[in-house]
């Protein structure tokens, strides 16, 4: 349940604080790969600070949803990270917390979509519709990936599932690499990264996440942007934790491997974003179904390897 260990909570606070850094690293790497110098890795912090101090402008069509949604969106992502064991035992952990994790993020998405529909803008309706559509295909990826690990390890919380991963078993090497791959795909979809959505574009017609927050400003926009970078770190962390670095290597070396994995994932993301263009929106469900198919592999391997 709720872990009284202050170090777990400290790890969580550090996690929250370091989220914009990963986004900064991705941006820096992207700039370097395309031959530019790019902004400093700490640039996202300055941007968030700037937004937090700005005046907020609400649409005259906006009601209580627009005022509540940024808070819910940020809180759900922040709370979901409490369930992950970040070097220490997770701050909140119980059997079945993988379900709470998925549903918390869905709650955030629910409010994000509603906030987009709240301002009576056709552009934001467009983004809302896309977000709702792609989420339908993103949800199964998570459940196939984490769910099959849950069935394999017979555990139902992140902490025990991840602790149950051992490098001795050759099957686990397959499980972990397949799981990391599908989580990486999920990260690209859920965090509005390149082949699915372009985080840099400012053409409303082509966007998903950015177009939903067109009418957000000030502290609200800060919360949305912060939540987006948290989400990126959240999925990258989940993928990195599949390696079980802390359990296998101990705290110091584990932290090193964990950090290196995060940077490697950021580099992969930056590389893909440099080399690839955004998919046409009609192709996104196919991309997501492909990712789902990868996720199915684990449970197939498990089932058939167990057959007599």
């Amino acid at each position: 349940m709720v872990n009284p260990d202050p170090l777990s909570w400290l790890a969580w606070a550090l996690f929250l604080a370091s989220a914009p850094l990963l986004a900064g690293i991705v941006n820096k790497l992207k700039a370097r790969l395309s031959g530019r110098f790019g902004p400093a890795v700490f640039q996202p912090y300055s941007e968030l600070l700037r937004l937090a101090r700005k005046e907020t402008v609400y649409s005259t069509s906006a009601g209580f949803i627009s005022r509540l949604a940024p808070v819910i969106v940020w809180s759900t992502v922040a709370f979901a990270t409490l369930l992950l064991p970040l070097g220490r035992p997770a701050a909140v952990s119980f059997s079945g917390d993988i379900i709470l994790f998925a549903y918390l993020l869905a709650l955030g998405r629910f409010f994000q979509i509603l906030a987009a529909l709240d301002v009576a803008s056709s552009f934001e309706g467009m983004g809302a519709s896309r977000e709702a559509r792609f989420a339908v295909f993103a949800e199964p990826i998570f459940f196939f990936t984490i769910g099959s690990l849950a069935i394999v390890t017979r555990q139902y919380s992140f902490e025990t599932i991840l602790a149950g991963i051992s490098w001795g078993d050759p099957l686990f090497v397959v499980f972990v690499s397949v799981g990391m791959l599908s989580l990486f795909f999920l990260m690209m979809a859920e965090c509005s990264r390149m082949p699915v959505d372009d985080p840099n574009t400012h053409l409303e017609l082509t966007m998903i996440h950015e177009v939903m927050i067109l009418d957000a400003s000030g502290f609200d926009l800060m919360l949305y942007q912060y939540a987006a970078s948290l989400k990126l770190l959240l999925y990258a962390t989940l993928a990195a934790l599949l390696l079980n670095p802390f359990g296998v290597l101990g705290p110091a070396l584990g932290l090193l491997v964990f950090g290196a994995t995060l940077v490697a994932l950021a580099a992969a993301l930056a590389l893909i974003e440099t080399l690839m263009a955004r998919f046409r929106l009609v192709l996104v469900p196919q991309f997501l179904l492909f990712a789902t198919a990868i996720g199915v592999l684990n449970i197939l391997i498990f089932t058939f390897s167990r057959q007599p």
Binding site: V92, F110, I113, S121, S129, V136, E139
Partner: protein, 657 residues
């Protein structure tokens, strides 16, 4: 204690003769509904206290033909009785405000309230009748009460049509149930459920007949696919307080029946469990997909009931598999998930239908494409509806999450405990549940966003309206219950504990089967504290930095109109298109082809393929029987000849034998 229950029934009975005295519709509306509410309060006190201080009670008396009749208050009956009474109470309170609109239109309420009371009364009796004959009689009374409650606004053609769908479905259901219970009676020589349960020597073939007719009969009532077709037709036809009760509790009588059959019959064959799992999964996924394609608010909610019935069925199928393979943990988890979801769905679906009723009276139509911005017009309804929408998507911290959590857990445990390909199937089922969760989010963001948010699409800018007090009490009360069961899951578990206690498996299941649901309130409290803290921080910072109001940014375009907003069909279009093989989508589109503006338009409509198939079957039977129509010549001399022929035939028979 039983005196309270009986006095509740007597008060309902009083209500049945009330229309003879009170002739004024306005007074009758208040009097009859308050009398019903008082009766239900008595009943609720009884069933709640009986559930909390549980002791199995039975009353036996002799009836001619039926033999000893048992009125039983076991855990399952009490739980369903409680659910029925709770929602009937909310429905009665809601009806007072809602029916005023009909009074203004000059409709007489006398007949309607009579049948509405009959519906509520017979629903309660269905839950406690443990004698098959009495059960069938009150089941029919319930069907009659529901039918006449649906066709209240009978001047409208679509109301009569919707009512007819219900009528046909409920009769098909009772026909199958008659076969089921008559077979059981033939086997055991008794009408009582206890004797059915005590009968040990069921041979597989007879059992198959009983189970298939029973599951199909109750399945029609519950609205499993492909028997769901009456729901989306009957619900929009009924007034909101009736469609709320239809969806919240009337279809749950089907679930009660299936659960009861599972309790009294042995689980000899796993095939029924897997079959129920498949049917439930199809109902759930397709139900929400069809819902996504609807433009009519009540039709959309009706399809969502099909989805939720599917989710309940998933729990029941795991329970069946658990019984078949002797795994008590699965039995308890599956049953608990199914029963809790029954209660939860009753609460939030009642809430959503009542909310839809309030919306209906503001928009004067159920077509959501013309709506928008109702959060400003009816804010209390908007808040309650939001809670219902979050709950029905199974999102924390509301009650839908708790029951879906149990069903997920039952899937994972079953994937662990069952051998062979079972883990594969069960993981796919869990993913199916997640997939329909995603679709439900899409569906309810669409519904809530289009109806309550944005600007009104019909061009009018309606101002804030007064919401009737008692209706709002009912709505907010149900919303409060969603939160209570969601944040304190042990309250829900407490209500189903007696029903689970009667399963032989509960005693054998590991003690922590429901963990960690009992302690989830800590987690939810923490989450709500985080939300509150962030909100306060935001409030404080925004007060320092300042807040301004401006019109929505239109990318520089100045002549923005509300009709440029996304519509419900536009929002769901791509997802609906992906479901094309299952969903028949017809589009009427007159595109703008010339440079001179001509009349153009776009209309899309989603047909239910299964409904079309049932209608096609109906027509085929009609055509087949039409081949014999020449027999009915209409000429009286031919009929005399038939009669003569028949008499001659019998005479010859008598001579030969």
């Amino acid at each position: 204690m039983i005196a309270l229950f009986v006095s509740g029934l007597l008060l309902h009975g009083l209500n049945l003769i009330l229309p003879a005295w009170v002739r004024d519709s306005r007074r009758l509306n208040v009097a009859a509904n308050l009398l019903n509410a008082a009766a239900l309060l008595c009943g609720l006190v009884f069933s709640l206290s009986a559930l909390l201080v549980y002791q199995r009670v039975e009353y036996r008396f002799e009836l001619p033909a039926a033999g000893p009749v048992v009125i039983g208050f076991d855990g399952l009956s009490l739980f369903f009785l409680f659910t029925f009474q709770l929602l009937s109470l909310a429905g009665s309170l809601y009806a007072i405000g809602y029916l005023r609109h009909y009074i203004e239109r000059g409709l007489s309420l006398r007949g309607h309230l009579w049948f509405f009371t009959l519906l509520i009364l017979s629903l309660q009796l269905v839950a406690v009748a443990h004698n098959a004959l009495v059960f069938l009689i009150v089941w029919e009374l319930m069907a009659i009460g529901a039918y006449f409650s649906i066709v209240f606004d009978k001047d409208k053609e679509e109301v009569r049509r919707g009512g007819f769908w219900y009528f046909v479905a409920t009769h098909a259901s009772v026909l199958l149930l008659c076969v089921c219970f008559l077979t059981l009676h033939e086997l055991t020589g008794s009408w009582n459920f206890d004797d059915f349960a005590r009968h040990a020597a069921y041979d597989p073939k007879t059992l198959a007949l009983v189970l298939l007719t029973g599951f199909a009969g109750f399945g029609i009532k519950a609205g499993f696919m492909p028997f769901h077709v009456w729901l989306p037709n009957a619900h929009p036809a009924a007034p909101a307080h009736v469609s709320g009760l239809l969806s919240a509790i009337n279809i749950k009588t089907g679930i009660y029946g299936i659960a009861r059959l599972m309790m009294i019959l042995p689980a000899l064959d796993a095939a029924y469990g897997w079959g129920l799992l498949a049917v439930s999964l199809i109902s759930a996924v397709l139900g929400v997909w069809y819902a996504l394609a609807q433009h009519d608010i009540k039709k959309l909610l009706a399809y969502h009931s099909v989805e939720n019935i599917g989710i309940i069925g998933l729990g029941l199928s795991i329970a069946w598999l658990g019984r078949r393979y002797g795994l008590p943990e699965l039995v308890v988890l599956g049953f608990a998930g199914a029963l809790l979801h029954t209660l939860n769905h009753a609460i939030f679906k009642g809430l959503l239908f009542f909310g839809a009723g309030n919306v209906y009276w503001q928009a004067h139509s159920g077509d959501i494409e013309k709506m928008g911005g109702f959060a400003r017009v009816i804010p209390l309804t908007a808040v309650a509806f939001l809670v219902g929408a979050i709950s029905i998507c199974g999102l924390p911290p509301f009650n839908g999450f708790v029951s879906e959590f149990l069903i997920y857990k039952s899937f994972f445990r079953a994937g662990d405990l069952l051998r062979g390909y079972a883990p594969l199937v069960l993981l796919f089922s869990a993913v199916g549940l997640a997939f329909m969760g995603g679709l439900a989010v899409a569906c309810f963001t669409k519904l809530y966003g289009i109806v309550f948010l944005g600007a009104n699409r019909s061009g009018a800018a309606p101002s804030r309206q007064r919401e009737p007090l008692l209706s709002s009490v009912a709505l907010l009360g149900l919303a409060g219950l969603c939160a209570v069961i969601g944040i304190f899951p042990q309250t829900g578990l407490r209500l189903i504990a007696p029903a689970l206690g009667e399963l032989a498996s509960t005693a054998q299941a590991p003690a922590g089967w429901a963990s960690p649901l009992g302690q989830l309130q800590m987690v939810f409290a923490l989450f709500l504290a985080l939300v509150a803290a962030v909100y306060v921080g935001k409030f404080w910072l925004q007060r320092r930095a300042g807040v301004r109001l401006r019109e929505t940014w239109g990318c520089g375009y100045a002549a923005v109109t509300p009709r440029m907003q996304y519509t419900a069909s536009g929002f769901a279009e791509e997802l609906v298109k992906l479901g094309r093989p299952m969903l028949a989508l017809t589009v009427h589109w007159k595109p703008l082809l010339s440079i001179v503006p001509i009349a153009s338009g776009f209309r899309s409509h989603c047909h239910d393929r299964m409904e079309n198939s049932w209608l096609a079957l109906n027509h085929a039977i009609g055509r087949l029987l039409g081949a014999f129509r020449w027999i009915q010549s209409g000429n009286i001399r031919h009929y005399v000849l038939y009669t003569f022929g028949a008499v001659l035939f019998y005479l010859l028979c008598a001579l030969v034998w």
